[in-house]
């Protein structure tokens, strides 16, 4: 029955809706449907399942690129800087990761680099207690670069395995706040050569197309080495990362699937892609 234009159109319309409501975005939806239309014209696809599989293959292709793996033992301490807009889950992700690393027997130091928001330091300290690692902090209003320097220095002196620095949430449109991040990045390098070895942008899966702007601006400022996609336990699909990862060649290091310390998982592209259609 395939190869009839009306049936092709109906299948494509339904898939288009699935893709849009998964936040895949206009540019990527058009790219995926163009690939499918091309293959339909060549009579390469002869049922709805084949069409869906073709889209999934193209999505996998978008997520296939040379990504530098996390090399935990390549530096001691291995320093991670965590950034992103307000409320996406940076502090919680750091708490989860610290817990995971501690369970693997690693020593971890946390830097309470959000010196701005009410009770941000207290929030990270509670996570530090849960994970069993020390949290370096200064008074509210302190220079975030000074706190991050202090935390990395402490990691070096204690011969810790990993140092993770939290930063205050900030909208990427606020130039002075973005400049502040660049300064924090530079100062961390002064405390330990090569630090930070990782700069991760935390993205909230419920955000829509604005995530593309977030990723571009943070990447321009800091050269991201990875992304963490949070709140995938909700109804949002996070399809926007297809465009982001493809454009920035930044890998998804972890996904957040809840608010407890176990709710951090590695990213599996095929599982993620299948979930976009469920």
């Amino acid at each position: 029955i395939f190869g009839k234009p009306e049936l092709d159109a109906k299948v494509l319309d339904e898939l288009e809706e699935v893709l849009y409501t998964a936040d895949v975005g206009v540019k990527t939806v058009e790219r995926l449907l163009d690939v499918v239309r091309d293959r339909l014209n060549k009579k390469e696809l002869n049922n709805a399942q084949a069409v869906q599989d073709a889209i999934k293959e193209e999505m996998e292709r978008m997520l296939e690129f040379e990504a530098r793996p996390i090399s935990w033992d390549s530096a001691k301490p291995y320093v991670i800087m965590v950034v992103g807009v307000n409320g996406v889950g940076k502090t919680t992700t750091i708490g989860k990761l610290a817990s995971k690393l501690r369970e693997e027997g690693k020593t971890v130091v946390l830097g309470a680099g959000d010196t701005f928001r009410a009770a941000a330091v207290e929030q990270l300290k509670i996570w530090g207690e849960r994970a069993g690692c020390e949290v370096h902090a200064m008074a509210e209003g302190a220079d975030p670069a000074a706190v991050s320097f202090d935390a990395v220095k402490a990691g070096v002196e204690k011969k810790a395995d990993v140092v993770i620095c939290d930063t205050a949430g900030r909208l990427h449109t606020k130039t002075p706040l973005m400049e502040e991040l660049r300064k924090v990045h530079r100062v961390m390098g002064k405390a330990h050569e090569g630090a930070p070895h990782e700069v991760w942008l935390v993205l909230d899966a419920t955000n829509g197309q604005n995530a593309v702007q977030q990723a571009r601006q943070f990447n321009e400022m800091l050269n991201l080495t990875g992304i963490v996609l949070t709140k995938l336990d909700g109804t949002a699909k996070g399809g926007v990362i297809l465009q982001i990862c493809n454009e920035l060649k930044a890998p998804i290091r972890y996904i957040g699937i809840g608010e407890s310390k176990e709710d951090l998982q590695e990213f599996h592209p095929r599982e993620f892609i299948d979930a976009l259609f469920s």
């Binding site: 849009y20 975005g25 807009v85 307000n86 928001r117 009410a118 929030q123 197309q209 604005n210 926007v240």
Partner: protein, 300 residues
């Protein structure tokens, strides 16, 4: 300034005297792309385009008078864009930024929403605003789960010069009921419940909200949404609306560059007014909602 989607739509009519079936469908396709890029939900876009088509098809654009009485021509392109803008305003309005105050006893405002949407910060902003208006707010720290959530609200309360009612470990429904009983002791005339972020699909936590509502009967229940929210706005708003008698919504983080198309989806699905918009992290950055501002932003 128009996004290139809307500009392209306007250009479809250049040289044309009227809006016809032939030229409108192309223009609507351009608008569709622009709205999807602005995060308006897929089905909401469909309904919107249908409305605009009905309103503008067959319009022969005549001469209109400008403010000095001089006759000027309005092109079909301008007319089409104005129809989109008017329809956006109509869908997101009418303006109603009022709070419900009961005849006797304190008014209760309840803040609910997804994790990280800005509830606690907005609670602080509302407290500051109400205090400036001569009210005596009492903040209730009903998020007993998030690390240092109570701490966060207490710090915001201190900054605003407003008391905070907290009892770590007490379940939120009992806590809110107790706060209501003790309101007189604080001479409070407004209570604001700051609740924990939650997913609309989390049955247990949704039941907790229902329990708070059953015990205290809040007069104002606001769904707080991040303006950057994408297509999920419809699922989330529908999920909350299906179990909670919302009276309004608040859109936060509009000081960024999110187009905010979710506002259309949220208004469409909840049917209640968008009351306020959050325009920054400090306590004075809460504005009353105006559809015109958001309509221009969605148009790009």
């Amino acid at each position: 300034t128009l996004t290139k989607g809307f500009q392209a739509a306007a250009n479809r009519f250049s040289g044309k005297a009227e809006i016809t079936e032939a030229n409108i469908d192309e223009a609507l396709r351009d608008v569709r792309v622009s709205l999807l890029e602005a995060d308006v939900q897929f089905q909401v876009v469909k309904t919107f385009l249908q409305r605009v088509k009905e309103k503008t098809l067959g319009e022969v654009v005549r001469l209109k008078a400008d403010t000095s009485g001089k006759k000027i021509a309005v092109t079909p392109g301008d007319h089409f864009i104005k129809a989109c803008y008017d329809e956006l305003c109509a869908l997101m309005g009418p303006v109603d930024t009022s709070l419900v105050y009961p005849r006797g006893g304190p008014a209760i405002i309840m803040m609910i929403g997804l994790q990280g949407s800005g509830k606690t910060t907005t609670t602080g902003k509302l407290a500051s605003k109400l205090k400036k208006e001569g009210k005596r707010p009492l903040l209730v720290a009903a998020d007993i789960y998030r690390p240092a959530a109570i701490d966060q609200l207490q710090k915001l309360g201190q900054r605003a010069g407003v008391p905070v009612f907290a009892k770590p470990g007490t379940a939120p429904p009992d806590l809110c009921a107790q706060a209501l009983k003790e309101a007189r002791g604080y001479q409070a005339d407004v209570l604001i419940f700051d609740t924990a972020g939650r997913l609309a699909i989390d049955d247990e936590l949704m039941a907790e909200l229902e329990s708070i509502i059953q015990l205290t009967n809040p007069h104002n229940i606001f769904l707080v949404c991040d303006a950057m929210i994408g297509q999920d706005a419809v699922k989330t708003a529908a999920g909350f609306k299906s179990r909670i008698p919302l009276t309004g919504t608040i859109l936060t983080k509009l000081d960024g560059d999110a187009r905010g198309g979710a506002a259309l989806s949220i208004k469409e699905v909840t049917g209640v007014p968008i009351k306020f918009v959050g325009m920054g992290e400090s306590m004075d950055r809460l504005d009353e909602f105006r559809p015109e501002g958001l309509a221009s932003r969605i148009l790009g």
